[in-house]
């Protein structure tokens, strides 16, 4: 460090007055703060009886869901863009020829390893048909690692669970 550097702003320590040196003010100040917090409101959320409040569920990145279109079919077209975008490589898709006439492919199986996932939301960003979305469910538990690998049915059921509270964020018409 160069002391002569003009870019360095030297800050003087404030001089303690007689009151400051006597430690009495600090004594009173410390106790006042302590008492204020002792009696003040508590920040703890008593989970699981109380739920954590999420300010905007549409912005929160929790468990994934696979959206359905208006006919109840899976919206995904198995384009692999989400699996490509995923930095944690947690999405595994097996594509097959679509049984419906309005699209060529559909996911025969679609699994997400929720333990590998880092909940970055890149899959949601990448999806061209808004089929995959992150919900505001955050208390994800399971008894084994296998249980935490969510398949297509599970992901669709999460959509059924959350579709009323969190409407689909479709921005690109009805391509799906």
């Amino acid at each position: 460090m160069k002391e002569a550097d003009k870019g360095i702003a030297w800050v003087r320590e404030p001089e303690l007055g007689l009151a400051g040196k006597s430690y009495l003010l600090l004594f009173v100040e410390g106790l006042t703060t302590t008492f204020k917090h002792l009696l003040g409101p508590k920040q703890t959320v008593e989970s699981p009886e109380q739920r954590h409040e999420i300010p905007d569920p549409l912005l929160y990145r929790g468990v994934h869901r696979l959206n359905r279109d208006e006919r109840g079919r899976v919206k995904c077209v198995a384009c692999f863009l989400c699996a490509t975008a995923c930095p944690a490589h947690c999405i595994d898709i097996v594509a097959a020829e679509s049984p419906w006439s309005d699209r060529q492919k559909y996911p025969e199986s679609f699994t997400i390893d929720e333990l590998r996932c880092i909940y970055c939301g890149m899959c949601e960003e990448a999806c061209p048909v808004d089929a995959i979305e992150l919900t505001s469910l955050y208390d994800l538990v399971g008894k084994s690692r296998e249980e935490m690998i969510f398949d297509k049915e599970k992901l669709l059921s999460i959509y059924d669970q959350t579709k009323d509270a969190e409407p689909m964020r479709t921005r690109r018409g009805d391509e799906g």
Binding site: E3, A4, K6, I8, A9, W10, R12, L16, L18, K21, S22, Y23, L24, L26, F27, G30, L31, T33, T34, F35, H37, L38, G40, P41, K42, Q43, T44, E46
Partner: protein
């Protein structure tokens, strides 16, 4: 003879049982108070096992105790086994042995079909050297700390132990000086007699010698190794201090001993300076009393002790820890002179108080109380002006005089 022995045994059982339970629940209280101060709620879940009954977390101490008992006790290969075992025992025994002379009430009337003297609520009521015994036994705590840190064969433990040794030895002096004024006032080393003297005059020692009170309380905080004087075991710097290498029941002995030290300090402050079981208009000062007054006296003493313990807990989260050199400066440059001034003033008043009071025409005690306050104010002012605790030993920064900073050669 037989009756004395049985009496003492019953008192010992009550004291040890009460102290252990109190220590366990004080740990819970400390955790909850700490949580409240930090805007949290603290442990409030553990109640009756296998049910959903919570009881505000009152089951927590039992859970903690069971956990400590069943935890694996690791004895590291590199320790000195004999000392490693001895140290927690020494500190624990020392902490408990102090209660032989500490009264936890005044007297109980001689009922239960027993004739003779009323029952004194001290384990060993006949000890004439009460306060000296307290000091002697509390000195053993230093051995527990030093032996434990040395036997651990670990640099961090040893650093904590060395700090602790220096701190405890330094603060014994102001503690003793703060006490000396009290002993001079009451003319006895027996704690019963010290309380009785305050009760008789109705003037607590804190009113007569506030300076001695300040010295004693600060020194007691340091002796109990509580924040802001908890350098021996400051977790942020020394991992765990002198008990880093301890686990299981031995660690629990250390922690309980530490808590008992705090309770002891509260008892001593309450007894020596805050009138013990005496409260104006509630307890009276007579030697022999009936059951109601005897119980009220116990309640008053325990209430005072409880309030002091709460103050200990609040203090922990109110003021930051001192640096080690500041700690030493406070002991040697502030508290020691204050203690001496206090002793001299008290001695002066005991010798000449009556004559001066007669000459002025005021009560001796009123005059003493006023002098005490004046002495406190003046000594505090002197120390504030002299400011011996702040020392700036940081390296000099030499700056060009035109720079936007301190002038040439000034400390920054």
């Amino acid at each position: 003879m037989e009756r004395v022995a049985i009496e003492a045994l019953i008192k010992i059982v009550i004291l040890i049982g009460g102290l252990m339970t109190a220590a366990a629940y004080l740990v819970l209280l400390e955790r909850r108070v700490a949580a409240w101060i930090q805007d949290r709620r603290g442990p409030n879940r553990v109640g009756i096992p296998l049910t959903r009954i919570r009881m505000f977390g009152l089951g927590q101490p039992i859970a903690d105790g069971v956990k400590f008992l069943f935890k694996e006790e690791v004895t590291p290969a590199h320790v000195d086994k004999f000392l490693y075992w001895l140290a927690p025992m020494a500190i624990f025994t020392g902490a408990m042995a102090i209660y032989a002379v500490i009264p936890f009430g005044s007297v109980l009337p001689a009922s239960f079909g027993l004739e003779g003297e009323p029952i004194r609520l001290v384990v060993a009521p006949g000890i004439d050297v009460g306060m000296i015994y307290v000091f002697a036994v509390s000195g053993i705590a230093v051995y527990g700390v030093l032996l434990g840190s040395w036997a651990s064969n670990n640099k961090y433990s040893f650093l904590g132990g060395m700090r602790s040794g220096a701190q405890l030895v330094s603060y014994e002096l102001p503690l003793g000086l703060g006490l000396l004024g009290v002993v001079l006032m009451s003319g006895s080393l027996r704690l019963n007699e010290i309380i009785a003297a305050q009760a008789r005059s109705g003037l607590w020692n804190v009113l007569v010698q506030p300076l001695g009170f300040v010295v004693f309380v600060v020194a007691a905080f340091a002796e109990a190794e509580r924040l802001p004087f908890d350098l021996p075991e400051c977790e942020q710097e020394l991992v765990g201090g002198y008990h880093t290498e301890y686990s299981g029941i031995k660690l629990m002995m250390y922690l309980v001993a530490e808590f008992v030290h705090m309770v002891t300090a509260s008892f001593l402050i309450a007894i020596l300076f805050l009138g013990g079981w005496h409260f104006w208009g509630l307890t009276g000062w007579e030697e022999n009393v009936g059951w109601p007054i005897a119980l009220v006296r116990i309640a008053v003493l325990l209430a005072k002790v409880m309030a002091l313990i709460l103050f200990f807990m609040l203090a922990r989260w109110s003021w930051p820890r001192f640096r080690f050199d500041q700690l030493m400066s406070i002991a040697w440059k502030v508290l020691l002179p204050w203690g001496m001034v206090n002793v001299v003033v008290v001695a002066f008043w005991i010798e000449y108080g009556d004559r001066i009071a007669a000459a002025v025409g005021l009560g001796n005690q009123v005059l003493m109380a006023v002098t005490g306050l004046v002495v406190l104010f003046l000594s505090w002012l002197v120390v504030t002006r002299a400011d011996p605790t702040s020392s700036d030993n940081r390296p000099l920064v030499v700056l060009p005089s035109d720079g936007p900073g301190p002038a040439q050669g000034e400390r920054s």
